[in-house]
């Protein structure tokens, strides 16, 4: 997995973003996002994680101008979130594929192509390419209401890519997909990354995030709790991992002796590992027990653990 350097140009800049939902009378109902600051760099796959109600989708919707921030600033591709022109370079796959169910797959892509002011020939070409990419060419003439959930996700993804976007926002991209579809989706995300596109995704499927994301942020209660590179965050810092070629039993015994001589013990022959799910659950638990606690291991973000 390639890395994105800290010097890379930020595609999304979020500063002190706060969203407070109010009722009809203007009374505060809930603070969905609280003073969120983060950057997403060009060419990286960034994962936004958090339990239900943590503010992930609210953040994405503020990025897209569907919701207005109560406080804070958003710059997306160098423009304010409410600037319609920014959408020329953005693709968005919503949490559910909120598409027009009375249209066929072909009509759907043609419709979204028209919204980008594409000429008919370009629309046709893009439609063919995307139908083939998401593997629903066989069902191109069927109305979306006849589609399974997985197929709807696929056509949803196709519409998000109709304009060959520089920035792709994916809200729960693998939800509803079967394992094959899941693999395809992850491959596609990596393919987008290889093409130099920036991907911001939020998901509950932590293994998927771990597979494709360069960096992640974990939100809890609308606040940023963890931000950093996935490999850095998952590293176990109390232990040393030495990767060698396959060792014989004698060699292992000799290594053990050497370690004993240096006052260290050989705890495990296997490599020490952690996984994203553990980290996620730990973060949620710590957030309940120690509300002010933060782990920020991101070289581009100055704030560190409280």
């Amino acid at each position: 997995m390639s890395t994105s350097g800290s010097a890379a140009e930020p595609v999304i800049e979020i500063r002190n973003l706060t969203k407070v939902y109010r009722d009809f009378w203007g009374r505060r109902k809930v603070r969905a996002v609280n003073s969120l600051s983060l950057d997403v760099k060009k060419g990286e796959v960034f994962g936004l994680l958090g339990p239900n109600g943590s503010g992930k989708t609210t953040t994405i919707k503020m990025l897209l101008g569907l919701l207005f921030p109560t406080e804070g600033e958003i710059s997306i591709l160098g423009r304010p979130a409410t600037d319609v022109a920014k959408n020329e370079r953005i693709g968005y796959l919503p949490e559910e594929s909120y598409l027009y169910r009375f249209l066929t797959a072909e009509e759907t892509l043609d419709f979204y192509g028209r919204l980008f002011d594409m000429p008919a020939s370009v629309r046709k070409e893009r439609t063919e390419k995307l139908l083939s990419l998401v593997k629903i060419t066989h069902a191109r003439k069927r109305q979306l209401k006849e589609y399974s959930k997985g197929m709807t996700r696929r056509i949803g993804l196709a519409q998000a890519l109709i304009n060959d976007p520089d920035l792709v926002l994916l809200d729960e991209p693998t939800s509803g997909l079967d394992p094959l579809g899941n693999r395809d989706m992850k491959d596609l995300i990596l393919q987008l990354k290889e093409q130099g596109k920036t991907v911001l995704m939020c998901s509950h499927l932590l293994a998927d995030v771990q597979d494709v994301c360069d960096r992640i942020a974990i939100l809890y209660g609308g606040e940023l709790k963890v931000l950093g590179r996935v490999d850095e965050l998952l590293k176990s810092r109390d232990e040393t991992q030495i990767l060698t070629s396959k060792l014989s039993d004698d060699a292992i015994n000799e290594v053990r002796a050497v370690l004993q001589k240096h006052g260290a013990s050989l705890n495990q022959i296997d490599h020490p590992t952690s996984n994203l799910e553990d980290l996620f659950l730990k973060t949620v638990q710590e957030s309940v027990e120690r509300p002010g606690h933060r782990v920020i291991m991101d070289d581009t973000t100055r704030s560190r653990g409280a």
Binding site: Y21, R22, G26, K61, L64, G65, L66, L67, F68, T82, V84, A85, N87, E88, I90, Y92, P94, E96, Y98, L99, Y100, F102, L103, E107, F111, Y112, R114, L115, F116, D117, Q143, G156, Q159, N163
Partner: protein
């Protein structure tokens, strides 16, 4: 009913359009500013200024292709969601309508009136709910289903969404209307009896100014009231010097029919003070007078066709006859006059006097009861103009519905638009009474005061600050009603069915043009209102 078409004053209409548009724009801006201040607090004002500048940009950068895409989507949506099921209702209605209309037993003109009214009303009342429901539910459903999310996250301006929706719903409703109109026309042609077919026409009347002479031949403002409570018609006494005098303007050869005759149609009524002569109706004579030369030519005596219209074909060349005296007409042997050259003045004026011949009997008339019937127009053309009027009404409902749906949920938007339509159709006269202040018992607060104290409306109110305040509050309420009165469109403009049903042409200048102007006048404010509401609205907010 007065069928005289009042020519539409285009400059005045344009001025009214400007007033309505300007007023609508101010309302949009004020509502938007208030909404922003409420939702965004003090930042609202800055947002408002940003909104104005970006709105200008949005208008300039509007893309016909995107608007076309949304229009097409709206059209497909309506069709695939089975909006066209309305045709089934329409078909059922028309399949069985013949059972209940029993046209065969009616006199021809009444049959035509009944059938034409039925067709135009049925179309209007079937299209109205379709227009109302489609336009009021489209955007709220789009927001509820969140399908709008995938649209506004593309480079689509919300102005394009509103405009596309308006055009799409307008298109589908116009299509529905056109199909119904064609079916209605075919149905009329098949259902109306052969003998009533000639009544399917579009008369083009030229109305004159009516004055009277009393029984002694002196000018009078009106004729005699024979005891009717409704003083619509005035009566002239028979065998006296009483006359009903119509002065027509703009008459030339084009007023004659293809046989060179001048067609005069009247609907005089008869009032008898005695039985009169049995077996015939009252007799009357029409006397043509050249207003400049004073040449007078009487025509033959005719009988009043009571309760029905009567058409008199006057040949261009008339025998130079005098007025009937004692029921006899004197005629100068061999001498003739040319109706156009001798009786119409060079400025195109023609005077026609109606004289009641029978002594002791009375003949009644109102201004529209005698008119010159210039060559009839085609019924199809009149029908098409009536349908065009309905199309304008449907478009207006769509504009109002779409605008309402950008800030209200579907049911509430439907209710609001329906109320606007209902008030615009039925309550404008009542509102006008309130606005004008010409009602007994004072304004609303004064009325309540009088009701509570059991005060007669004519009783003088005491003076004092409290009563002055009450009058001021009534004045404020009147001004508020005036504002509402201006916002609510006048739906009377769109109802052209009475003209066609009564066999009259639908005047383009007097009827079609105002209906187009009203629809256009509301288009821009509705578009801007919808745009601003959708722009300041958080689409995700529940």
């Amino acid at each position: 009913m007065d069928f005289e078409p009042t020519p539409y004053n285009i400059p005045l209409g344009f001025l009214y359009w400007l007033i309505v548009t300007g007023f609508g724009t101010i309302v949009v801006l004020v509502v938007t500013l208030l909404a922003l201040l409420i939702t965004r607090g003090t930042k609202g004002f800055g947002d408002f200024l940003n909104l104005l500048s970006s709105a200008a940009l949005d208008i300039v950068q509007i893309s016909p292709r995107r608007v076309g895409a949304i229009t097409r989507l709206t059209f497909l949506e309506a069709i695939r969601r089975r909006a066209l099921l309305v045709f089934v209702v329409f078909a059922i209605l028309f399949m069985f309508a013949g059972w209940f209309l029993s046209g065969g037993t009616l006199v021809p003109d009444f049959q035509v009136k009944l059938y034409v009214s039925f067709v135009l009303r049925a179309i209007a009342w079937l299209v109205l709910p379709v227009a109302l429901l489609l336009s009021c539910w489209g955007i709220p459903e789009d927001i509820k289903q969140r399908s709008l999310h995938t649209v506004v996250t593309k480079p689509v301006r919300r102005l394009e969404v509103v405009l596309g929706r308006m055009l799409g719903f307008g298109l589908i409703n116009t299509l529905v209307l056109l199909v119904m109109a064609v079916a209605g026309y075919v149905w009329l042609q098949q259902q109306i009896d052969e003998k009533a077919r000639p009544e399917l026409t579009c008369r083009r009347p030229v109305f004159g100014q009516l004055t009277f002479l009393d029984r002694e031949g002196k000018p009078a403002a009106t004729g005699i009231n024979v005891g009717d409570i409704w003083e619509y018609r005035s009566y002239i006494e028979g065998a006296t010097r009483a006359r009903a005098i119509w002065k027509f303007a703009g008459i030339d050869e084009s007023a004659l029919n293809k046989d060179g005759e001048l067609i005069l149609e009247n609907r005089f009524s008869a009032f008898r003070s005695h039985k009169g002569q049995m077996g015939r109706s009252l007799l009357y004579q029409l006397v043509f007078v050249n207003p400049e030369t004073g040449l007078r030519v009487g025509t033959q005596l005719r009988q009043v066709a009571e309760f029905r219209g009567r058409t008199d074909a006057i040949p261009r060349t008339l025998p130079k006859a005098g007025e009937a005296i004692g029921g006899k007409i004197t005629e100068e042997a061999g001498e003739t006059v040319d109706l156009i050259n001798d009786l119409v003045s060079p400025s195109g004026e023609l005077v026609v006097e109606a004289v009641c011949i029978d002594p002791g009997q009375y003949m009644g008339m109102a201004r529209p009861d005698l008119f010159i019937r210039t060559p009839d127009g085609s019924f199809l053309a009149g029908y098409a103009k009536s349908i065009l009027g309905l199309a304008m009404m449907v478009l207006l409902i769509v504009f109002l519905g779409v605008a309402a749906s950008t800030f209200l949920k579907g049911p509430v938007a439907t209710l609001l638009t329906f109320c606007l339509v209902l008030v615009g159709m039925t309550a404008r006269e009542f509102m006008m009474t309130i606005v004008s202040g010409r009602f007994e018992g004072g304004g609303p607060i004064e009325s309540v005061y009088r009701i509570v104290l059991h005060m007669n409306p004519t009783q003088e109110l005491p003076t004092g600050i409290a009563f002055q305040s009450m009058h001021l509050m009534d004045l404020a309420i009147r001004q508020f009603v005036w504002l509402i009165f201006q916002i609510i469109p006048n739906f009377d403009y769109f109802n052209m069915a009475p003209y066609l049903a009564n066999g009259f042409d639908v005047s383009f200048n007097a009827s079609v043009l105002p209906s187009i102007a009203v629809t256009l006048a509301f288009f821009l404010p509705c578009l801007l209102l919808g745009y601003f509401c959708l722009r300041v609205r958080e689409l995700e907010a529940k």
